[in-house]
Structure formats: structure tokens, C-alpha cells
């Protein structure tokens, strides 16, 4: 027996071939499931942009102005102008501004906020979000709701505040 030539060991065994086959098939299945899931995330949205122009700063009167389409308040005081996302930090309803009481009140669960956005009553865990507001060289306000700040000290500075004479 020992003088017979050794049977050459195949480079690709049946077992490893089948393993690779199954691996490729499972990878294909995973890819298919993944791409079908990706289908359900839209690439184009038919809702107002997060970043938009909001007219001239001088056009806003002292106090709170609501932009319902974009869901922001533009607030003008003696020092300048800032913008807040009109979304309660409790569970996402839109609070209303009550000038007589000088506070925002959320109709859903009763959270109250000052004009600065700080919580003074109710279940809201955090102050309202300030959003970025800057001016173009032509003087148009540009608001970007994707850039937010709620920390006192930072939220009163550029780019979340525009100082006006």
C-alpha cells in the first residue's frame, strides 16, 4: 500500500464549498431584507425644511411671534432676537403663548415655561430648545432647527442670539 502515490488533497473540499454556498445565500437574503427595510425610509420629504429664511429682524415686534408652518417662536426683546422650537420637552405638543401671564403653557400635560424657555411648572424635564438664528449680509434671518442649544450662558450667545440696537 505504501508504494501507491498519495491521493492529492483537493484545494476545495465539498464541505467548504457548501459552507461558502450557504454563506453567500444567507448574505444575499440579509441584503434583500435590508434593502426592503431601506425602502420604507423616504429620501425626499414633503414637509417644511429644517433650515429656512424668516424675513428681516426689524419686522418682528417686541414679544413672541409664532411661525406655525415651521413650528418656531421668534422672540424679540430689548437686547435682541432669538428663536425657539415650539415643541414641549415633555412629550412633544405645541405650547401656547399667554401674554397676560407672560408664560408658555402646554395644553397636553400642563407644563409652563418662561419667555426664556425655562420650566416653571408641570412635568417638562428640560427647558425649551433654542435654535440657531443668523443673519445674511442682506439682513435676512436664517433659522436652522437642526442646530439646538438649551444651556443658559450658551443659548444667549451667537449663533443662538442676534443682538439688536
Amino acid at each position: 500500500m505504501s508504494d501507491l502515490p498519495a491521493f492529492p488533497k483537493p484545494e476545495l473540499t465539498r464541505r467548504s464549498f457548501l459552507l461558502w454556498g450557504w454563506a453567500a445565500f444567507l448574505a444575499f437574503l440579509a441584503g434583500s431584507v435590508g434593502s426592503v427595510l431601506r425602502f420604507f425610509l423616504p429620501n425626499v420629504l414633503y414637509e417644511p425644511s429644517q433650515k429656512f429664511r424668516a424675513g428681516k429682524a426689524a419686522d418682528y415686534p417686541l414679544g413672541v411671534t409664532i411661525d406655525k408652518a415651521h413650528r418656531v417662536w421668534i422672540i424679540r426683546n430689548e437686547k435682541g432676537l432669538y428663536a425657539m422650537w415650539a415643541r414641549c420637552t415633555h412629550l412633544g405638543c405645541t405650547p401656547n403663548w399667554f401674554p397676560a401671564e407672560s408664560r408658555f403653557r402646554c395644553p397636553c400635560h400642563g407644563s409652563n415655561y418662561t419667555i426664556e424657555g425655562d420650566v416653571i411648572a408641570g412635568p417638562a424635564p428640560k427647558p425649551l430648545w433654542r435654535v440657531q438664528v443668523v443673519q445674511t449680509p442682506q439682513g435676512d434671518l436664517v433659522i436652522d432647527k437642526a442646530i439646538m442649544e438649551d444651556r443658559p450662558g450658551l443659548r444667549e450667545k451667537v449663533p443662538f442670539f442676534i443682538a439688536l440696537a
Partner: protein, 255 residues
Amino acid sequence: MFKKLDPKKLFEDLTNTQVWRSMFRGGTWKDTSRDRAQHILGNVWLHLHPARIRRRAVDFKYTWGLGGLSFLLFLVLTATGVVLMFYYRPTPDLAYRDMKDLQFVVSMGTFMRNMHRWAAHTMVMIVILHMVRVFLTGSYKTPREFNWGVGVILLVLTLFLSFTGYLLPWDQLAMWAVTVGTNMASSTPFVGAEGPFSSLLGVGLKNDARFGLLGGTAVGSATLVRFYVLHCIAVPFITGADNRRIIDRSFLAYS
């Protein structure tokens, strides 16, 4: 001259007709164990799969797999159709834009829409070939006459699904194809305004078959939502139920 009407005799006469026996198979109730088994195994509501299949009945060279293929295509169309419904809104303002969005901006949208379209065209073809095969092998003969009847209904439903889906892209082709197609309905005898005998029933422009299909006198937003409901809910539901009947009965050779 007039014999007394006997309800029992009348029912017996009815259940003895070929039409009745092809629809409710198993023969007259004799209450033996073999008889009980045949009634239960042959009842579409009690038994969802054939209990016994002959080898020859599922031979590929005999069936060409055409029934299974049309059912597979029906499943593919249901799955891709439901997926497309996530983006498609059936209103004149949005329908065409949503269809274009599916083609150009939704990930995998082109693939899903094309798969739906190709499967639809293929299904019409396969269903016709299936009918030819059933005819050539004589599979419509006793005791399976009723299967042929269900098959004819399924053929019409498949064509109707194809027709209702035609309108949904809401482009010029869709508008005029459905205008032409529904105009043909107004030539139907009795129920079409321009068909023969319609005046006998008082059928006119605003109560004929065409009016019912369009939900108005011309293709418009009412037609779009009507065809959408027919295409996505009503007709697929009936087709699925009929498929069930065909699959259950086509392999059962005993009566």
C-alpha cells in the same frame, strides 16, 4: 294539472343536478365511515389541503407548473403591491408624482414597481396558458366542471386587476386607456347606456355600468380612488378566495 309542491322532493331534484354535484362533491349522504371521510376531505371549508394526490396529477410534464406559477405570481404581486401602497396616494394631484418618486427617489422603488409590473404582465400570460393546458388535458371534465367555472372567474378577475391597475400611474396612457375601456362597458346589453335593450330598463348616462365604474360620467378623481380600492382590496380578496378553491379542488380526482 298542478301537482302539490313538495319541498323535500324539490331539494332532492336540486341536489341531483350536475351543477350542484360539481359544486358540493362527495355524493349523497350515506353515513358510512368512507362516506363521512369523503365528505369531510372534499369540503373546502373543513379541509384546506387535498388529502390524497395522484403522482400523475403533479407530474411537471403534465401540468407545466402553470397553476403554481400563477399562484406564486399572485403572491409576488400582493407583496410588492402592499409595499408600493406605502408611497402611493390615489388623488389626481399626487398619484403621478408618487409614481415618479417611486421610480426616481425611493430606495428600491424602481425595483418594486418594475417587479409589480412584470409580474402582472406575466400573470396574465401564465393564466391564459394555464387555461389552454387545462383544456388540452381535459381537466375540466366530470367531476371537476366547477373548477373550470372558478377558473373562468379567475381569468376575468386577473384581467380586471390588470385593467384597474392600469389607471393608477395617472398618466395620459392610463387616462385614455380607462376612458376607452369603460366606454366599452356602456355598450353592454341592458346595463350599458348605449347597449341594446337599455331603454327598456330606463338605463341612461347616469345609471349605467360605465357610470358605476367611473363614479361619474368621465375619468376623474372619483374614478382614481374607485379603481384604487378595487385594485388593492376588493378584487385581490375575491381572487385569493377563488385561488383557494382551485388549489384545493384541482388535485381531487374522486367525486
